[in-house]
Symmetry: C2
Subunit: 161 residues, 2 copies
């Protein structure tokens, strides 16, 4: 059985090379759309839209913070941050992602981001740069974030634009 499987698989993959490439290309476009949705949700400070991009078993790893495990805990964290800065408004948010690797229903990429947040009227705006490493998983609902880690980046992000 093993040999016949191997031979047959080779024939299948040989005959399906173009569809396989198309599948990877589709996945890359879908992940590009996920990145755009993440940037849009962050820009609008829309916690519901951001949370919808997470897998149920997602884990967010933020600096000097306990690992945030599971979609409910991530939603609670986002709401806690928003509540702590009631007058905050995102003036600008940009994100560039690099090094996309796709293997079936799993993918990873790393990104740099720059955010300017207007805080209360009597405070200077927050101007911060960060890096992210993301692991993504595709289920029936599409690609979702399963792992996210963030740390501070140098101003300019340290990479070519």
């Amino acid at each position: 059985m093993r040999v016949s499987c191997a031979v047959f698989l080779a024939l299948c993959f040989a005959s399906r090379a173009l569809p396989a490439q198309a599948a990877t290309s589709n996945a890359a476009l879908e992940i590009e759309a996920l990145n755009k949705s993440l940037a849009d949700a962050t820009r609008r400070m829309d916690n519901g839209a951001a949370l919808a991009l997470w897998a149920d078993d997602g884990v967010s790893l933020l600096p000097s913070t306990k690992p945030i495990e599971g979609k409910k805990a991530i939603g609670d964290f986002l709401n806690t941050v928003t509540a702590a800065y009631p007058g905050a408004r995102m003036e600008s948010f940009t994100m560039q992602c690099h090094g996309l690797e796709i293997s079936g229903n799993w993918a990873s990429e790393w990104c740099t981001e720059h955010q300017i947040v207007n805080l209360a009227a009597d405070k200077p705006p927050f101007d911060g740069w960060g890096k992210m490493l993301l692991v993504l998983h595709r289920s029936a609902g599409g690609w979702r974030i399963t792992r996210e880690m963030w740390n501070q980046a140098l101003p300019g992000g340290g990479t070519a634009p």
Copy 2:
């Protein structure tokens, strides 16, 4: 061709369920060995042994640092850090990894680490906690680190031991 592939694949996978599980189990054991090698190399401050665990196109994402892209750049960075602390000696280093996900030749996991480093005689030891998100790739040489991000953890790591 497509239908016959699908039917045949279903038969293949049904008949090979146990070998497939064994492959995943082997990969998990191999990654456990990689983690142990990484901890051992870090404990000995052996930059050569640590660098051997990296893929040629690896990217290390450290806080307030430009992304370090490629094995040579990562080796140069490790040597720069070692040279900056000539009397340093790792008193202890422990690392626990979680959430291993394997898809073919790709995997990811996140880890917490605790290090105590004795610096020069007139300085107090450095006692630090960190978190890591790793993306791993298996090539002919075995599993290697392709992406690493690190940030600070709360003392205790914020997770159960």
